[in-house]
């Protein structure tokens, strides 16, 4: 049983206290599927350079070299994958040695060994639409 009360000027603020049992009854409201936002790889197979997951890698001083190396790797058909990209990798590496503090810091931010990190990234301020999908599916499924 939920309890309702109102307060404030002209009773404009309604407060409802709901118990877990109240909310166990499935909702009569449904929300539509959200549009999935792209991750690193777009639906057509291209790389999304705008992905926040890359941090500053694709936009920094060695951004162009990083893109070439990563693109080469992404489209590589060799076995194992990426073995035909040596040139691109070493150009990128050469560039990165010129900015040791920058790419060390990138390293730290990206590879914090916090095991929960990747799951948590979904939870930080802006969650991925994919997880949004999952959550919505969960709630819709409950109905």
């Amino acid at each position: 049983m939920s309890i309702r009360s109102s307060s404030g000027p002209n009773d404009k603020d309604l407060v409802i206290f709901a118990t877990k049992e109240d909310h166990a009854v499935p909702s009569t409201v449904t929300l539509p599927e959200p549009e999935p936002s792209p991750g690193l790889i777009l639906s057509n197979g291209d790389i999304n350079w705008n992905c926040p997951c890359l941090g500053g890698m694709a936009t920094g001083p060695c951004g162009v070299q990083f893109r070439e190396a990563f693109s080469c790797f992404h489209y590589s058909e060799a076995e194992p994958k990426g073995s035909d990209c040596y040139e691109a990798f070493s150009t990128m590496q050469e560039c990165m040695t010129k900015y040791p503090t920058l790419y060390n810091r990138e390293n730290n931010d990206d590879d914090e060994s916090d095991p929960m990190k990747f799951e948590n990234m979904e939870e930080a301020g802006r969650s991925s639409e994919q997880s949004a999908n999952e959550n919505l599916e969960k709630s819709v499924a409950k109905n």
Binding site: V15, A18, N50, A124
Partner: protein, 707 residues
Amino acid sequence: MAILNSRSVEIVRPSADCLRPAPWLQLIVRVNCFQKEIAMLFRAIRSAARADRLCWSTRPPHSHPGWQRFYAATYKKKGPADPVNSSRKTSDLFRAKTSQDITSIASPISLKIVQVRSSSSQNTSHAKPPSVPSATFSSNSSNEKPPEKSNLLRNIIYGLVIAAASLGGVYYFDVLGGNKDDSKKRKPKSEAETRKSRPIIRNPISRDAFPEKMQYVLIGGGTASFAAFRAIKSKDPTAKVLVISAEDSIPYMRPPLSKEIWQQKDLPPADILSFRQWNGQERSLFYEPADFYMNINELGSSENGGVAVATGWRVSRIEPLTSTVFLKDPTTDEEFPIEYNKCLIATGSMPKNLPVFEKVWDAVSSQTILYRNIRDLENLWYQIQNAKSIAIVGGGFLGSELACSLGRKYMPDKKVFQMFKEPGNMGRVLPEYLSKWTTNKVIEEGVTVIPDVEVQVVQKVNNQVLMKLSDDSIVNADVVVVAVGSEPCTQLAEPSYLEVEPNIGGFLVNAELEARSNLYVAGDAACFYDPILGRRRVEHHDHAVVSGRLAGENMAGSMKPYKHQSMFWSDLGPDVGYEAIGIIDADLPTVSVFTKDSESGKKQLEERSDEKKSDNIQKETVPEVLSSPSEISSISVSEKEEKTEMKSNSDQDYSKGIIFYLKDDTVVGIVLWNVFNRMHIARQVLTQRKKYADLNELAKLFNLHEE
């Protein structure tokens, strides 16, 4: 994927010619040796990528299991956790004999090694070497997180990779003597005066360093600008971007200035400011370290483009017709032009002052701070050292957050006052009952809160600022912070013939953030058209990120309207943390759903049935009844009754719930009160623009009772 074989041990101790202070990618010296590892690492990026990570948000994911521990550690009455002590862990790293030992220690980060070396020679809170502007060191102080089984493999891989990078770093810094200045001791106290009064550093020094033409010109060096140039460079990899900032720092994030920064014991020098994130990791205040940015002289000829930041320079006007910005040369006071292809105005906002203070500004300005940027932080920090009492005028986001941070840090040695004209903290944002509940929480942080008052007279008496309040009480403080809101920096509008919105303020732009052809505005200064919520202006961090990114994308060729709704958040101590989206205004009618556990729910029902004033309250057994306030039978509420209602409401537990703000019965804003990871649902609700019969039904979608 397990690589715990003899080969992996080699990664841990790479051979001499592999050693660089290398990012993980650089471990791959010879591709033919480490192909599998490359593949794994890239797979790792991709899986990380799917979790659309926003690197700039300092927002803690509250449901993270480490969160409670972090709060327990940081918010213990004894005081904030000390990052310096965590350096003990690194010595363990050296003693590790097998790769397994290393992974079990977890999260060593190479720059930490530097700290160990210098901290052995002194015991003060040492500063990181200045050539490493954003040293991040892991604070894995302790007993944290044994990796969960499902992530064990991933953890091991990263542990190995990072261990290798760390050892590579050790070799470089320790043996090859990478860093020069690590022996310099920084004593914050002795630096107090110099830091307060140092002049603004102009870089470049002379106007001759500026090019005559520049592809992208961004006016303002804050969050919106940063988001914009990142979007520009993503879309246009060889773009040349010039950022012109009147401040003398490279772009940094503001939210920690009223929260996390105050959890440290000492303040590091301005160029290497950092704070401890929710997950225990030290993080630089700056979005990118100094060497990310190119020298302005090199920008023109750089074939891959780059981003240069000119600090300490102002733009005096813009000529949209000729696509030119004019800068003021401070030495000659003359204007000089820079032609642009695309220009962004991201000038942000500046704090407002109160007339009562302005009247006596000459006398009190040295002790009164309009808090906004890094200089204000330094000013406040050092003034507080010698102060016995601090007063904060203003009860909004900044005032309340700062009051909580200062109360937590300095009470009981120093007194912290907060005074404002609303009846409760966040009085213009939260409905009254919740604002009052929050005020009690602020008081619990040690702050002396004085609501319902205005400052009527300000005087300087005996080196203190004396404030006479409208309730005839007097507050004396050594330092005063005025946090009464901010106004957008639109000084460029008049000389540039740009339109400004008279009521909301800010440069007028369309939904694509364009003011004129090739001229965009983002962040606090933009009064933009939001297709869902109408024309508005938003002064929050995430909006700066979202609008900056949108403007950047549009500058680089897209033509997208404002669509992704930005959010904001605030934390007031360990019990109050909320996220919000849309129009959040206390004047709007609200409907809130708070969680109640079943036991106390029944008890309350019994109590209520005995009350005489039960006319205002309905017991709902079926949740389908229309819930608009007019439907609830109520006798006209006299003031006295209202007060009784409020009193009983303050016994209520508003610790977790959701608040819907309504305009014409449509949900236009949502506050998630101590409820996290549901912002995407809130965002969905907003875009629907529907009128819901029962908002309790809508609230069910948020699963409030779950973590």
